[in-house]
């Protein structure tokens, strides 16, 4: 099973590294969001650390949605999805491969956006970085666990670009709210024990939705 997941992930990675279709768009869009907020929040420059968690996760979520929208585009071209569905593997494996690929692309994008946010908002966060990485990892896993499934559903519709954000954001709201809260704890307090609750909620959410999506993926892909 891990070998098959790796095969699907490696294929998506290879195509992305060759074309950079998703990554370029995701990074560009994420940075544009930061630039807009940088100007919009000029008036509260003194207390900017309080606003940064929300700004960061809005930027992550918007650029992530862009990536998720592209996720099944390559599979639709030449009906590659049909070829994938004919292989004798549990279709949940396809979900896991795509989900991990989406997660890695999103984490790469988040890393670039985060570095830019340090510059734009003039932040110093050396000590906080391991915790930020942890929150980003758990939050992104949760976001893509839902996103990969909903992206497959949206890909079968005519209005996929519009439909995905409409169905994705209400479902991932618990992840986004807790990710913002956890990032705020990291950037604005010294008591990291408070991270336990948002991290637990995000982890449980991720496990539940990833399991559901793994089991439901077969039905999503068939006509």
């Amino acid at each position: 099973m891990p070998a098959k997941v790796w095969t699907i992930f490696r294929k998506d990675l290879l195509i992305e590294l060759r074309t950079k279709d998703s990554l370029n768009a995701m990074i560009f869009f994420g940075i544009v969001v930061l630039v807009i907020f940088n100007f919009a929040l000029e008036a509260i420059r003194e207390s900017i650390r309080a606003a940064v968690p929300g700004v960061l996760w809005v930027s992550f979520a918007f650029s992530g949605t862009l990536g998720l929208n592209r996720m099944f585009a390559a599979e639709k071209e030449n009906s590659c999805l049909q070829g994938l569905l004919m292989v004798p593997v549990d279709r949940g494996i396809i979900y896991l491969g795509k989900m991990i690929a989406a997660c890695v692309f999103m984490l790469l994008t988040e890393a670039v956006i985060f570095v830019f946010s340090l510059i734009f908002f003039n932040l110093t966060v050396w000590r906080e970085i391991p915790y930020v990485v942890l929150v980003c990892l758990v939050g992104t896993l949760g976001f893509t666990a839902v996103g990969a499934l909903l992206s497959a559903i949206a890909a079968n519709t005519k209005m996929r670009e519009v439909l995905l954000p409409l169905i994705l954001f209400p479902v991932v709201l618990p992840i986004l709210v807790n990710a913002v809260e956890a990032t705020a704890i990291i950037l604005n307090t010294v008591d990291y024990r408070q991270l336990k609750l948002p991290l637990t909620i995000m982890t449980v959410f991720t496990i539940v939705f990833a399991t559901l999506a793994y089991l439901l993926f077969e039905y999503v892909l068939e006509d």
Binding site: K4, K11, L14, C80, M86, P88, V89
Partner: protein
């Protein structure tokens, strides 16, 4: 063996297949004819497990009944859609599918498969640069990479030039000779007739004609098929 019992498929109010029953024996080559929208592709997609029937039962026997997942390992599906990734090379495409089918094919073996379909020297080129016919040739190598027992073919000759058509025809004849079960949807009456053991005409989601090739000449089949299509067109 393939057993289809009372299969119906609805897309909203539109009924693509209606109570269709057919049995394809092991090693049999069945050509499916029918007008556009008659239900040929839907039937093939149901057999391939790509579409779930609204009602009815489909059983695939590959040395005994198998689960849908196991059955997929014994089937090859080739249509006019190539299922190839344009940004990957021919070798990368085949390696991807070989890994998913658990086939231990090294670089030399993959090159050989590509050469067999007449694409020698283009192995390292992105598939996007291939012509439609070349992509279809590579799709043949992809679909039959795992040497399946059942070949499901949906207009497989689309986009192929004369050489490609001869190649695929020869490939299918040899596969049939080796005991492979083939079900092929096709519009070309001559090609479909020449390759088949049995001819099925699907009309309005049901079997309208089911004849053994030996029992009819090509001219007779064409005449009966034309008459049937005209009758259905007039009725519809």
């Amino acid at each position: 063996m393939i057993e289809v019992q009372g299969v119906a498929k609805y897309f909203g109010r539109f009924s693509a297949l209606r109570d269709l029953s057919v049995t394809v024996r092991e090693g049999e080559f069945v050509s499916l004819f029918g007008r556009n929208g008659a239900g040929k592709t839907t039937l093939l997609r149901i057999l391939a497990g790509l579409t779930r029937p609204s009602s009815g039962d489909v059983r695939i026997h590959l040395s005994g009944p198998r689960s849908p997942q196991e059955a997929r390992g014994g089937m090859g599906y080739l249509s006019h859609n190539t299922a190839l990734y344009g940004d990957l090379t021919a070798v990368e495409n085949l390696r991807f599918y070989a890994n998913l089918f658990d086939l231990a094919l090294d670089e030399a073996e993959l090159d050989k498969r590509i050469q067999l379909v007449g694409l020698a020297g283009r192995e390292k080129e992105p598939v996007r640069n291939y012509s439609r016919g070349m992509q279809q040739r590579l799709a043949i190598a992809r679909a039959f990479l795992h040497d399946p027992s059942i070949l499901l073919l949906d207009e497989p000759f689309t986009g192929l030039d004369q050489t490609g058509t001869e190649f695929l025809k020869d490939y299918l004849s040899r596969a049939h000779g080796r005991g492979k079960t083939c079900v092929m949807a096709i519009h070309d009456a001559v090609l479909g007739y020449e390759l088949a053991d049995r001819i099925l005409v699907i009309e309005s989601g049901g079997v309208a004609m089911d004849v053994a090739r030996r029992s009819v000449s090509l001219a007779e089949f064409q005449q009966r098929y034309r008459a049937l299509v005209k009758e259905r067109s007039d009725a519809g």
